[in-house]
């Protein structure tokens, strides 16, 4: 089972970080980043399966594909932003983490604005 591998990697990394913090604290952050990347790459294909299922469902529900692809893009952006900001936070760089999050928020808003505007157009058209 993959989950045992992931938990194993997580526990080993935690022990390594705890030991390294007392010996060479600057190496602890590298271990943390590496563990994050390994765990993320191990589950990314599972995530793609979930997304394929959601896509299939949206096709059945006659949802607009544009809408759906935007939501997927937003979720992807949110994941990457969270990942990046967590790494910065682990390294004690809170201000960098905040800036990454700010960039993510702005990009998400830019993706959402065309949909918001077209919805506003639609509502205005429906009004008698």
């Amino acid at each position: 089972m993959e989950i045992f591998q992931i938990i194993g990697i997580g526990i080993i990394a935690t022990i390594l970080i705890v030991i390294l913090k007392s010996v060479r604290s600057d190496f602890a952050i590298y271990v943390s980043i590496l563990t994050g990347i390994i765990i993320f790459s191990m589950v990314i294909h599972h995530l793609s399966y979930v997304i394929d299922t959601i896509r299939d469902l949206s096709r059945r529900a006659n949802l607009e594909i544009t809408y759906f692809s935007t939501i997927l893009k937003i979720i992807g952006t949110a994941y990457i932003v969270e990942f990046g900001s967590q790494i910065s936070r682990d390294a004690g760089q809170n201000s960098i983490a905040m800036k990454i999050e700010l960039a993510g928020k702005i990009i998400i808003m830019t993706l959402a604005i065309p949909i918001l505007m077209s919805l506003m157009d639609l509502i205005i058209k429906i009004m008698p």
């Binding site: 809408y67 998400i108 604005i113 065309p114 949909i115 077209s118 058209k125």
Partner: protein, 198 residues
């Protein structure tokens, strides 16, 4: 389409939408980004709820087309900003280059420079290279002992636009100096003098 069919398809769409939203909520990362995803999901719910009424009122509306229209508008806006920035950068680059050429001529010869006019190449590979250079020398200003320029007289200025063979020959040493320093061809350099009315 009968009324019951219409309501049935509407309810089916909404139910499936909520199943999808639940899945999206599960996949969604925790943290500050959640609110933003919820905002877009909210828009999706509004659209699905009012979509049947759009079909009923027979309004010609395609979300995809409208979204593309707005994306296109945004792209055009970005292009406009980029173009403005490029022009500003180009202007600044030309100004600095002109200043550098002026300082170079004044430091390495006895001449004073009145103006430097240049054009730069805009090809992909040669971008930024000088494509034509015109230097106008000021003859009626001399250097004092410290090298500072002093104006001797103030008279109406007439620019001599004809390059003239004389000037070209006279200042060939400046030409070759410039061509060597800035790695240019001598053919694109034009040096003339500014003449005063008596």
């Amino acid at each position: 389409m009968s009324l019951s069919e219409f309501i049935f398809s509407w309810v089916k769409d909404i139910t499936l939408l909520f199943v999808i939203i639940t899945l999206i909520e599960l996949v969604m990362p925790k943290g500050s980004m959640k609110r933003y995803i919820n905002f877009v999901v909210g828009l999706l719910i509004i659209f699905t709820v009012i979509n049947p009424f759009v079909r009923l009122t027979k309004i010609d509306f395609q979300l995809e087309r409208q979204v593309f229209k707005h994306i296109d508008e945004k792209l055009r806006y970005d292009e406009k900003i980029l173009e403005g920035q490029e022009n500003q950068i180009e202007g600044l680059y030309k100004e600095r280059l002109a200043r550098e050429i002026k300082t170079y001529i004044e430091d390495n010869s006895e001449e004073r420079v009145a103006a430097v006019r240049l054009d730069i190449a805009k090809g992909e590979e040669t971008f930024g290279k000088i494509s034509s250079l015109k230097v106008i020398l000021d003859h009626d200003r001399e250097k004092d002992r410290d090298g500072k320029a002093i104006d001797i007289q103030v008279k109406p200025v007439i620019l001599d636009h004809s390059p003239g063979l004389k000037d070209d020959e006279k200042y060939s040493h400046i030409k070759s100096m410039l061509a060597g320093y800035f790695e240019l061809s001598e053919d694109i350099i034009n040096i003339s003098t500014m003449k005063m009315e008596d």
